[in-house]
Structures are given as C-alpha cells and as structure tokens.
Subunit: 299 residues, 2 copies
C-alpha cells in the first residue's frame, strides 16, 4: 500500500561548525518521502517555486515518488537556513522564507484520495486538516508537528489531534504542549487530546511509543560521527510509515519494528548533509543496520 | 560469590522542589551496597563518625551487609547536602563536610582480602587504588568516579584505570575526561586508558556499554514520578555488580543482564528519598520490573 506525505518541499542552507551547504534539497516532505520510498510507493503533496532545481525533481523520480501532487507555483521555493552548534544538538534558525508556501493550499489529485496511510508532516495544522479532509477513509493517519505551531496555531493543532491515529513530536514539544517535565505524564495527557498512538522523539536517545498496548522504548542507532541531523526526525517518521504501509498484520503488530526501521533511516540521514547520504543507501543496508540494532539491544 | 564495595558512607540532606529531608542515610557505598545485597553477600568498606545513627547500622544488617570493614572514627560522618531543580535532572551541591573521610585510609579485614568482585565506588582515586592493592587476585574490578576527581585528581584516576576491568561514569564526565562530545568516540578513548569494559550512564536515557563484544544500549526503566534521583547511579552499579557476582558463566555472558538489573534497582531508588524506597523492595519486585523491561524493549 502507498503512503501519502504532505509537507514542505524546501531548499535548506545548513551551516555546521565545519561546513556550509547552501540550497540543498530539504523540507520535511523530502526527507520523509525518500525515507518511506525504501519500503513503499509514496505520493508526495507539496509546492515548489519556479526556482526549484530540476535535479531535485529527478531525485524524487529516482525514488519512484509520485509527483502528481507536487505543484510548481509562481514565486520562490520555501527556504530555510540554520546553524548547528559544536555539539550538533542545538541549532538556531537563521532565516525562514516561506515563498510559495505562503499561499499553498493543495487540492489532492484523484489518484491520491484513496491512499490508506497518511503522514501529515509538520506543516501548519490547518493545512494538515485541509489535506486530511480530502482523503477517503484512510487506514492510518499520523501527524507530526513543531514548536512553531504550538506557539501560533495551538487551537488548529488541537482540532487536528482529534482526527488522527498517531501523533509524533519531540520531547521538548511534548513538554511545551502538556506543561509536564515527566514524559510518561506528558504521554497520558497527549492521549487525552485524541491520538491512540503517541510517539515522543528524543534525538540521539531514541524514541518512546505509548499506545493501549503499553510503552515501547525505541533505541537510536549509535553513530560515531554526526554530519547533519537536519531531517532525522522526518526520516524517522517517513521510514516508519513506509514500513507500516507494507507490513502484514495490524498496526499494533508492526509499529515497534516500524519505529526501528525509522531509527535506522534517520541514522543514515545524520551521516550526510541534507539528503546526500540517505539517497545513497539501499534496502539491504537498512536491513543490516536493523539487525545490528537487534543485537545492540538484546539481553 | 560476594562483592566488596568501598566508598563514602554518608548522611545526605536532600532538598527537592516539594520536600526537604535532613540527614538521610546516603553515600555511594550505602546505595551500592543495598542494591547489591538483593543479589549477593556484600562486604562494605567505609568509615562513619560517632554521630552515625544506630538505626542505619541496623538497616545495613537487615540487608546482611558485612560490616567488618566499616570503621567508626572520632569525628563526624561525611555529610552532603544538595538541592534539585524542578526537572529533577539538575542538582547543585549546597555543602560537603568530609568529616571522618578527611583522614579515612582503610586497612581491609583479612576476611575481605579474597573477595572476587570489587566495586570501587566514587571515592578519591588514590583511595580506590589503596583498597584495590589489598585485594588478592580479584576476578572483576569496577571503578566509578565523579567530576570532582576529574578536576582535582586526574593523574591518580589515570593510574587506577590501568588496573581495573570496568569503568563506569556518566555522560558529562565522559565528555569532560575525553574532550569528546560524541559518546562512541569518547568510549574508544576511554578504552585506551585501560578498562576493557566501559559503561556510560545517561540518567533517564539509560546507559551504554562498550566492550570487545561491541556495544549494548541499556534502557532506563521509565518512571511516572521521580522523587529523588540521589544514589541512582550507585544503585545501578551496585545492582549490576551484585547480579554479576552470582550469575554463572563469563562476564561477557552476563554483563548485559547485570546492567538491566542495575537499571531496575536504580529505578526503585528514584521513587523515594535516600534509600527509603530501595530498602522496601524485594527480589520478586526486581524480577517483575526486569521482565517488564524485556517487554518494553522487544521488537
């Protein structure tokens, strides 16, 4: 089954203590879509400006990503630029130019409207809702978010959360949303907002899933050298949804393994700037790292 | 087989955002010894002052801890007082009164000199070496440390590290010791200092083991409410050594499970002030949480 992914398709300028990389292919949707593409067919919803490089369209195509929902609009592509500190855990946004995303309001192509797995990556919650409304009886809907929407669009986000099966956010966002320092208490509060499955991402410390089946502590794949963590969270959720959409059995049967696959793709993402490393990997490399994570965590 | 544990036996005054607890039984040795006592006989090496409450001696005895190596010395018991911030992750020391530990220089009782498992908890490295020298051909020696010794006794610590099998420290200490932000790189550097087994503790994020068998990512038991994390690290290493000393097979065969047992005892430690909760638990409660951690991490 295929996965529908909606979010920003962007150009990212990323500065780390050692290097500067202007106008790489980025945006949550790009990272999530490429990550999911290793497991399942992907239908992308997004908008780019007239300046969007053709080579990036070619890249999507190499990953067999369906681009019927990718619109080219008058104006410039969404552009984010940010800078990482030496420890690579803290980053600050230098500039955000919305470009065509200022007025982006997608209508789904007919071929997208029956997609069973839907990933509403971290665009504005009103836009996430707008896309979700156009999908007919999806099997499993996951929303991601970011601190920006907690600050400026909380009522929209709360409305959306009543309509999704799963919600993915990072630990600082979970604390901000619930005003709780303890993650287990935060998870309980988030369930009350609607989602049956809540996943809190903790970066290099992995992730934690809460569902009616209890908790799952998901490890991160340990890396000796992090080049650029931009998009790791998107790769995680993209890989997870990609695997879920092809696995047999119920969501409950497969979600833990799906998270591990997500962690694996996220680890590859961190090893190169933008999508440079992720686009070079293969399914066997993913399977090898999955098996390694089994060994790294068994006792 | 029994475990020899040397470190401060102290009185701790602990302040958290909600409560204040003066002069509780504390010190690394107390936490580690009680934790180890659930698995194996423990021989304690330490010193207390004339003010040390008899009820705490009774507590040690209830845990069948051998006190032949516990000296009562003229003067006051080591006293630490500290305060935790709201998130319970950051604490600051309000006062440290060394008391009898200023001149503590133990001679091991004859009955202690053949103990196979030795835990040199986080006293001064010179004192750790002094104790280690008195043990005849131990099977497995683990040292813990703290930032204080990295700051004021690094040469002593480096000498000690050449003589121990295992070294346990927390993530900030590992970064301080190696000047490395990446934990995998830090682990490699620490191996070069001597220890075959290196364990980096990451608090609520668990711990990571590095040995010739590779890495092991050890989870922390998730708690909905942390009352007082003082002594959690000592409980972890104490529980680990206690289990190791009774498990059949090689260190390599057992160390992962030993770390999980350590995590379990550490989780109980965090649920009460000082040793209040830890001293109330039973082996079946430990086994139940061990099984729970298996479920929480399997995929």
């Amino acid at each position: 089954m295929s996965v529908l992914i909606v979010d920003t398709t962007a150009l990212d300028s990323i500065k780390t203590p050692t290097r500067e990389n202007p106008r790489l292919l980025g945006g949550s949707a790009s990272h999530a879509a490429v990550a999911a593409s290793f497991f399942s067919p992907v239908k992308l919803v997004g908008g780019v400006g007239e300046d969007f490089p053709k080579k990036y369209i070619a890249l999507y195509r190499r990953h067999k990503i369906d681009l019927a929902g990718l619109q080219t609009l008058p104006g410039k592509t969404f552009h984010w630029s940010g800078e990482y500190e030496v420890n690579m855990n803290n980053r600050r946004t230098l500039a955000t130019e919305l470009g065509v995303f200022e007025t982006f309001n997608p209508t789904l192509p007919a071929s997208y409207q029956n997609v069973p797995f839907v990933l509403l990556a971290n665009i504005a919650p009103a836009l996430q809702s707008h896309v979700l409304t156009q999908v007919r009886r999806p099997k499993f809907v996951v929303a991601d978010t970011m601190d920006l929407w907690l600050n400026i669009a909380l009522p929209d986000l709360l409305k959306l959360l009543k309509r999704v099966d799963g919600f993915v956010l990072n630990d600082s966002e979970a604390k901000q949303l619930t005003k709780e320092d303890n993650l287990l208490t935060a998870l309980k509060k988030i369930h009350k907002l609607g989602p049956k499955y809540v996943i809190i991402k903790k970066g290099e410390h992995g992730a934690i899933l809460s569902s009616s089946k209890g908790l799952f502590i998901s490890p991160a794949y340990p890396l000796p050298h992090v080049v650029d963590p931009t998009g790791a969270g998107d790769s995680f959720v993209g890989g997870m949804m990609g695997y879920l959409s092809t696995a047999r059995g119920s969501i409950d049967d497969n979600l833990r393994r799906a998270m591990i696959y997500g962690s694996v793709v996220a680890s590859f993402c961190c090893e190169g700037f933008g999508l440079k490393f992720t686009t070079r990997i293969t399914r066997p490399a993913i399977e090898a790292r999955f098996k390694e994570l089994e060994k790294l965590t068994s006792f």
